[in-house]
Structures are given as C-alpha cells and as structure tokens.
C-alpha cells in the first residue's frame, strides 16, 4: 500500500526502471540490462542503487512485487519479479510528457532537427 505520494519530477533512474517495466515484468538483473541497452550504456545501474530504487518505487505504489512466472529466465537463484502498477504507468507517462516538452522546446529553438 502506497505510503507517500511520488515526487515530481521522477528521478532519472526511476524513470528508466519504469520504462523497462512498461511492457513486461522483469527481475532486477534484467532491468539493469534493459536500461543499459536502451540508454546505449549512458545509464549504468548498480545493484544497491537499483534495489533501493525498487524498494522506494514499491513504497509509493509505482511498482509491485509479483511471483516469478514459471518460465522466467533466471540468473542465479530465483529472483524477485516486478510489475509496473497503474499509478506507475501514469507517473512514467507524465515524466515522458514532461521530457517531450523539453524536446519540443529544443526543436523550436532549432537545437534539434525535427
């Protein structure tokens, strides 16, 4: 049960974790790999930072822990799987829109090609 409201705007690594979970449930290591690939190596999540972020995201109800699926690929033991919640989707979408706004401004100022 969420105990505090999510801060706005989202921490960058929180945003990336939510993006990783947006279309599928993943465990911690898979989230690290997904973020690394999607950001082209620009964001490198470390274990402590990742698990703390997952704990805080669960506290405020943006993600929830689920039972691992039977066919889940595992890397060392039986890790916890995480799923984004509806509130998490909304928070992630809001952050994406915020960032898209910045991109639109940058395009208008011809810093970026359309």
């Amino acid at each position: 049960m969420p105990t505090t409201k999510p801060p706005a705007p989202l921490e960058p690594h929180w945003f990336q974790i939510l993006l990783a979970l947006a279309d599928r449930d993943l465990h911690g290591l898979a989230i690290m790999h997904d973020v690394l690939e999607r950001t082209g190596g620009r964001m490198r999540l470390w274990p402590g930072m990742l698990y703390r972020a997952l704990g805080r995201l669960a506290d405020i109800g943006l993600v929830t822990e689920i039972e691992p699926p039977d066919d889940a690929p595992i890397a060392g033991g039986r890790p916890r799987f995480f799923r984004i919640t509806t509130a998490g989707r909304r928070a992630c979408a809001a952050e994406a829109e915020r960032l898209a706004g910045f991109v639109a401004v940058a395009r208008r100022k011809k810093l970026l090609r359309a």
Partner: protein
C-alpha cells in the same frame, strides 16, 4: 577475462539488510558480478579497480539507505496503527469480531434465544415506559416558548388553589404590567348542532388574549378580538380535531355557522393540528376544548366578589422575568386588589385571599412526575436484574473458553482486543434484543396509553420520536456493557494456570464470589421493587376502603344540559326537570331519583356565606362552602345518611321559606357541639347577602374531591328555590346543567335504555351525556393510584421471578461444577441430606445478603413514594416484613431444585468424570 572473486562479492553483500540478503542473495551476487563485467568491458583493465570502487561505494550507500528506508517504513506503520488506524482496518476487525460472535451464538441456539427474548421483553418494556415519560414529561408543551408561561391561581386562606373570580381577574388584568400578556379561560359543556350528528362538546370561553398569550395563531381564519369579547359577539374558533370530524378539513368551514346550545355562532378560525388547550393535568378547566368562544363576562360576573373562583388564568412572562418574581408580584397584587375592590363587609375574605404563579408546565405535568418516574425506575430495575442474569449466563458460558482466551493472549492478542471480541457477543445479543424490543415497545406503549388513567395529561402526544430512538440506541449500548463487561474483564484477567497441561476450568472461590454477588444484587433490586409495589398496593387498598360518605352501588348518573333555545326562561327549565324527575321516579326499578349541580368525587366550587348571629369564635374562619343545588330526592338517592333534622323535600318549593342542609364538617366547624338546626345562613357578605336560608338538616360528609382529599364545608340548597335569573342564565349555565342520580333496585345499566327513552319523550333532540354508574366514577377517580400500583407490582413480580431464576441458575451451575467433589464426599461417607443442606445453605446465605441489602436500600429510598401513598407510611413495617418473608420463601424454593439434584448424584459416575 578473468572472473572477479565471487567470495569477495559475497563478503560485500553481507552489508545489505538481512531480509534482502536472505531473499535476493543469488540475484544480488549475479548483479554485482554483471556490473563488474560491464565496467571491465567498457574500460578494460583500468575498469576493474574503478568497478570495485564503485561497487563498494554503491553497496555501502545502499546498505545505509535501505536500513533508513526500513526504519521509516516501520515508523509510519506504527503511527498508522496508533493514531490514525485506517477506518477500513478498524471496521474490518470489528466486522470480524461480530462474525465470530455470530458463529458462536449460532452454535448455542437455546442460550441465544433465551437471552434475546429476555432482552427484547425488558428493553421493550423500558422503551415503552420511556415513550410515555417522553410524551408526558420531556416534550415541551405545544405553545411558543412554553417555559415563559405561568398559571395564576388564587387561594383563600388554607383552601385552594382555585381559579380567579371574574372581578379579581379583571382587576388583575388592568394592573398586570408584570406580564407580557394574560388571559382567562373557563370550560363548559355545550350541545353542538347545526352539523350532523349533534353531540356534546367542550367549549372553552376565553379572553381575546388567549391565543396571543400561548403564542399560537389559528391555522385558518383569525382569533377572536377584544371587540368580539367585550361585545359578546357569537364567534367561535374550532379545534383541528373538531374541524376534521365535522367539516372534513374543508377551508370553507370558516364563515359557516354552528349552534352551541342552539344559539348560532360564526366560525372565524381553526386552530392548527397539535394545538391542545386546556391541558389535562390542571386542577380545574382541564379538558381540552373542541371550540373556543369569547369569555364575555356579564355584569353579574363582574359583581361576583367572593364567589365563582373558577376562571383559569394563564400569563406570559416578560423577557427577563422569572417565575419567582412573578409569584411574589402576583401574591402582592392579588392581595392589594382584594383590599381595594372587595366591599368592606368582605374584608375578612379579602385579607385571606392570596395569589400565586407557577410554571404552566409544572401545573400540567407536575402531579404526574413522581408517578411516571417511579414506574420508569421500576422497569429500569427489572432491566438491571435481567442484565445481571444474562451476565451470569455469559460468564458461565465464557468460562468454557478460558483456554482459548489464554492461547490467544499467549500469541500476542492484547487484553483490549480480547475484551472487544468478548463484548461483540453481548453487543450482538443486545442489538438483536433491542430491535425486537423496539417493535414490542410500539405495541406496549399503546397498551400503556389505553390502560393509563384518562386524567394523565398529554396522552395524545405519546409516540415514537427521535428522542425515543436515541434512548433505545443508548440503552442497547448500556445493556451490552452491563451484560458483557464483567464476563469480559473476568475472563481476560491474567492467570498462570490456564495453559497448564491437564488443567481444568473450575469454579474457584473468586468465580463463586462473583456469581454470588450478581445474584445478591438481583435479589436486592427485587426487594426494593417488591417493597415499592407492596406499599402502593396497600395504599391503594386503604384508598378503596375510604368511606365515600354515600352508597356507591346501584347508582346510575347522567348529565343533561338545557339549551337556551327551547328553554329560554326559568319556568321552562324548572318545568323540564320537575317533569323529568317525576317520570324517572316512576321507572320500575328506581327507588329514588334526584338531580344536582355536581356529583361527589368531582371538582368543587366555593361560595362565600354569612351566618346570622354568628359566634365571635368563628368570625375569623374563612366563610366559604361548596354549594350543591339539588332537586328531587338527590341526597336520598345517593344514600347520604341524615345526622340531624330532615332531608330537603317537595315542601321546599320556590314559594316556601328558603332552607339548606349542611354537612357534618360545616356543622362542626361553625357550631361545634351546638345544634345548627334552625340557624340561618345566606350567600354573600354580611352587608350584602341573599335571602336567609334556615338550616333544616345535617347530613354525613361525602368526598367532594378525590378520595385522598380533605372534606370541606358543604351545603345542599333546593334547586327549586334558586332565583329565576340564575336558573335562566345561559352564560355560565350552571343551573341548566344538572347531573341526574338514580338509585336502582336492579343493576343500573339495566335502566339506561328506559331512562334515555323517558328523556327523549320529553325532548327528542336533547342529548344525554356522561351516562355512567357511580361505581365507574369511583373507579375513575382512583385510576391513578390503581395504575401506579398495578404497574409497579407487575414489575416487582417480574423482578422476583428473574431473581429467583438467577439464584436457581447459580446454584445449578455450582452443583454441576462441583459434581466430582460431591461424588468424592459421598464416596467418603457424606449423607445425601448433608449435601442437600449444604447447597441450600449456600443459596440462602446469598439470598440473605441480597435481602439485607435490599431492605436497607428500600428503607432509604421509599420516601420517594410519599406523595403517592395514602394512609400508609413509606416505611410501613408490615410491608417490609411481608416482603422479607415472601423473598425468603421464594429463595428457598429456588434453591430446592438444584439442592434436590444433588441427592440424585451417583458417586461412581461423578468419580469417573474426575
């Protein structure tokens, strides 16, 4: 690429919080290794130390922050549970407790039904009585700001209080600046015709200021005005009930004419629904009116000093005024007025006249307060006894769950949580009981209203309202606590032995003391109720033994009032009654027929008189007597004994010497041991009086008012010798409205049809009212003490029954639990009789404790009943002794059954159980 040391990574992982390590050790290790590999791949050999440094920093930071997060989570969770437990969590727990309690009760259907039935009856009875108390005592009178209304009364010396005479009221009204407004009113019965069918109605003749004083305006039309009053205009305002009954609530009724005593009156207004005036409960003018007309004092009224103290007066205090001040001012003004306006010869009376002001609410309900609160206290006591019984039952049943409670406590359930769980059971029982009780209360309150004396005020206002519902809800909570708290506290009391292997639940000394205390308390309350009921019953029987002064049996009475239309003058009125009494005397089965302006046990009037050649010793006494104008053989019909001289007779006609017969009280007071026969008295003052009347007889005293009131001076004057003017007067109409009394040789009800036929033969259209036997009149006059005695005694018997069940139940349970012990005793040689006596002794010790406590409590509180008792002291020793004996016998019988069961114990079976 060489792999990093997994052992070192595992060592590093020990910095994480334990719960994370336990669950995620492998995943964390894999993640750490993946990070090290990632950095090595990105930065080459130089990335390895960088990766280790980053990993160690990340681990240490995460270890600290994860612990901080955990602590914050725990702190938030604690705060939620302590200060702002989510409503959902609390409600969920309560709902769980209720469901669990319901399951337990379902498994014990007999117990549940007995308890629910007991609670339904006792809560229903308590709510029903409260409904009556609420309607009569607690609801405000249906007037604007009723706390500002006072009733003004006059008294003459020790006699009174009475109403105001007309001249006294007019003088008071002219000078009563101490009140915001003031009004006089007086009731009279009229024949209502002009709308079918004709009937007798109560008409209140009132000042134009009455409705303004009460603060209620007609819902339709207008009130009558001062001009209507002063010019005696024939206008009328109807009550809502009459308008509904006679005109089907048609607004076009305003402006129509009705006939009162065959005189036309124009309807100018209709009072709103719920408006009732005058209220029952007042001493005089106490019948709610159907019609209001202007009081229109006649010149004769205005000269009536020292007589007809029969006008009720109601006043509204000015803002800031107090009742105490109004009382003082009224007394002073009445005395000042009397000294100023009374003729000189009436100076003695003027000096004795005084006034008072009391809150109208107190006058209406004051005489009913003690009665109703006593009945309420009685039914409350029954409820208390029932709660004590149920508490014993619940405790006995809950003791079987001692081990279960101990286990829950050992697993961490707090005492509060356990108590709440146990209270859920009694709360559920009380809730179901109170819902059923409320339904029962609707029926019971109607039954109470039907049984209640008709003189009880505001009976029509009794009904369920928000206050009654709130009372029932509060009663449910209190009952649940009374029934459940003791068992809950006792069962959750910490004790060490409940969980020991092989330990049995047992009735220890403490439990025996608790049960004994509960039973003793029930018995004590039952004793108090029995003493109260006993005192009221004895008081009632003493009241019924009071000599009324006349023969009650086989006496039929009825009321006739002659309207001015058809009986315009004195001759026609005299002619009607003469013919009527002659005819009725000849009805087979009638041994004597007469008529009078009033009957015994009714409301009395007072008239000033003077004595010719009076002894100086009696001059200072108030010279007021109740005048009774009688026709035919009235005094003989009532069976009033003749003490000296003769009865009034046919020879005492209009043309004969005016005569009078007085009662023993008047003879004793004014003539002492001398013979009053031949002495003369006259109505009025010494200087201005009516014709002298010679006293020709002295008759026995009759009870003029209620049976428990003092007898006052009374005169019987031949109605035929009353002046033509008074006979013909239709404003007050006393002499036109006589009560006929018939002494029968058969049951009086057998005469009713014949009597009606004889009256119809003389005047077909004349309604006959108040046909009742004297026995019914006596019964009605004792309705209040009868009601009181009946109810309190009923509750006392119920209380005794419940208490007897309580003591029997306690002993039965005690015997059942001690069965193994008793078996051992028998096996060791104890006689059955010895065990029988032991059980009886245990029960009677408890009963004796309850009896002693109850008698002492009754001794202390019985004085509350003083105002309700007649001829008996509230500490009557006979009553107390009878109750003690009765309770002793009942307790003995209640103990006998469980004691007898001991004698049937089979020692072998009992030992096998052990």
């Amino acid at each position: 690429m060489p792999r990093p040391s997994s052992a070192f990574v595992r060592l590093l992982l020990r910095a994480y919080p334990r719960h994370l390590r336990v669950r995620e050790r492998d995943a964390l290790e894999a993640a750490c290794i993946a990070c090290l590999a990632r950095e090595r791949a990105r930065l080459g050999r130089l990335g390895v130390p960088y990766a280790w440094r980053r990993l160690i920093a990340d681990t240490i930071t995460a270890a600290i922050l994860l612990r901080v997060d955990e602590r914050r989570r725990r702190r938030l969770a604690w705060h939620h549970s302590q200060h702002s437990a989510p409503k959902e969590i609390l409600m969920t727990r309560i709902w769980q407790d209720v469901k669990y309690a319901a399951r337990l009760l379902q498994r014990a259907p007999v117990f549940s039904l007995v308890v629910i039935a007991t609670l339904a009856v006792t809560i229903g009875a308590t709510t029903a009585v409260f409904t009556v108390v609420n309607g009569v005592l607690l609801r405000a009178l249906p007037y604007r700001d009723p706390t500002r209304l006072v009733l003004l009364q006059e008294a003459i010396g020790e006699m009174g209080p009475w109403g105001f005479s007309a001249p006294d009221y007019l003088a008071f009204e002219a000078r009563a600046g101490l009140f915001e407004s003031i009004a006089a009113f007086r009731n009279r019965e009229y024949e209502l015709s002009g709308v079918e069918p004709p009937e007798r109605v109560i008409v209140t003749r009132a000042s134009a200021t009455l409705f303004e004083t009460l603060g209620v305006r007609p819902a339709l039309g207008r009130p009558f005005t001062r001009e209507d009053d002063e010019s005696a205009r024939p206008v009328a305002v109807l009550s809502d009930a009459l308008w509904t009954r006679k005109f089907a609530r048609d607004p076009a009724a305003v402006g129509r004419a009705i006939l009162l005593d065959r005189q036309p009156f124009t309807i100018v207004g209709v009072m709103p629904n719920g408006f009732i005036f005058p209220q029952r409960g007042l001493l005089i003018n106490n019948v709610p009116a159907d019609v209001y007309v202007p009081i229109a004092f006649t010149p004769s009224d205005r000269r009536g000093f020292g007589s007809m103290y029969a006008n009720g007066v109601v006043a509204r205090l000015k803002p800031g005024g107090t009742v105490t001040q109004a009382n003082v001012d009224t007394r002073a003004l009445v005395q000042a007025n009397a000294r100023e306006i009374y003729p000189a010869a009436l100076s003695g009376l003027a000096a004795a006249v005084s006034g008072s002001a009391t809150p109208l609410t107190d006058e209406v309900i004051g005489r009913s307060r003690t009665l109703l609160w006593v009945v309420f206290a009685a039914v409350g006591c029954v409820l208390l006894i029932a709660c004590a019984d149920i508490a014993s039952l619940i405790l006995a049943r809950a003791m079987a769950r001692e081990r279960e409670i101990a286990v829950r406590s050992a697993l961490g359930a707090g005492r509060g949580r356990l108590i709440r769980q146990l209270l859920a059971e009694s709360a559920l029982l009380a809730s179901i009981g109170s819902v059923l009780g409320l339904l029962l209360a609707v029926w019971l309150s109607r039954a109470l209203v039907a049984l209640a004396p008709s003189t009880l005020p505001r009976l029509h206002e009794i009904g369920l309202d928000a206050r009654v519902l709130l009372f029932t809800a509060a009663l449910t909570v209190v009952t649940a606590l009374l029934c459940g708290m003791l068992p809950a506290l006792e069962l959750t009391r910490p004790r060490g032995s409940a969980l020991k292997d092989g330990s049995r639940t047992s009735t220890g000394r403490r439990e025996r003391r608790i049960f004994g205390t509960l039973v003793a308390a029930q018995l004590a309350i039952a004793v108090v109720l029995l003493v109260g009921g006993g005192l009221l019953l004895r008081s009632f029987s003493k009241l019924m033994a009071v000599d009324t002064g006349f023969r009650v049996e086989r006496l039929l009475t009825l009321g006739i009032s002659l309207p001015a239309q058809g009986y315009r003058d004195a001759a026609s009125v005299r002619g009607f009654y003469s013919r009527l009494l002659d005819d009725l005397s000849q009805v087979p089965g009638v041994s004597a027929a007469g008529a009078s302006t009033g009957l015994p046990l009714g409301v009395r009037d007072l008239r000033v008189f003077t004595i010719e050649q009076e002894s100086p010793a009696t001059r200072e006494l108030p010279h007021s007597a109740d005048p009774e104008y009688v026709a035919g053989r009235y005094v003989e019909a009532l069976g009033i004994p003749l003490k000296r001289g003769r009865y009034l007779g046919a020879e005492d006609a209009a043309a004969s010497e005016p005569v009078a017969v007085i009662n023993e009280t008047m003879a004793r007071r004014f003539w002492g041991t001398s013979d009053p026969i031949g002495q003369r008295i006259a109505w009025g003052l010494e200087s201005q009086h009516g014709p002298w009347m010679r006293i020709v007889g002295v008759v026995g005293d009759v009870k003029q008012g209620a049976l428990n009131t003092e007898t006052i001076s009374q005169t019987y004057v031949p109605w035929m010798q009353v002046s033509d003017g008074m006979i013909a007067d239709n404003v007050v109409g006393i002499m036109r409205s006589l009560r006929v009394a018939l002494r029968g040789e058969v049951e009086p009800t057998a005469l009713t049809d014949t009597v009606r036929a004889r009256i119809r033969a003389i005047d077909f259209a004349l309604p006959v009212t108040s046909v009742q036997t004297m026995s019914e009149i006596v019964k009605r006059s004792t309705a209040v003490p009868r009601f009181n005695a009946l109810l309190v005694s009923l509750f006392a018997v119920l209380a005794l029954l419940l208490a007897a069940i309580g003591i029997a139940g306690m002993l039965a349970m005690s015997v059942s639990r001690r069965m193994p012990e008793l078996g051992i005793r028998m096996a060791l040689g104890a006689q059955r009789q010895t065990l029988f006596a032991m059980v009886i002794r245990q029960g009677m010790i408890t009963a004796a404790a309850g009896l002693a406590t109850g008698l002492l409590s009754a001794w202390l509180v019985s004085r509350v009943l003083s105002s309700l008792l007649f001829g008996i002291s509230p500490r009557d020793p006979m009553t107390f002794a009878t109750v003690a004996g009765l309770l002793g016998v009942v307790a003995l019988v209640a103990c006998a059954l469980p004691a007898w069961s001991v004698t049937r114990v089979d020692p072998l079976k009992a030992l096998r159980a052990e």
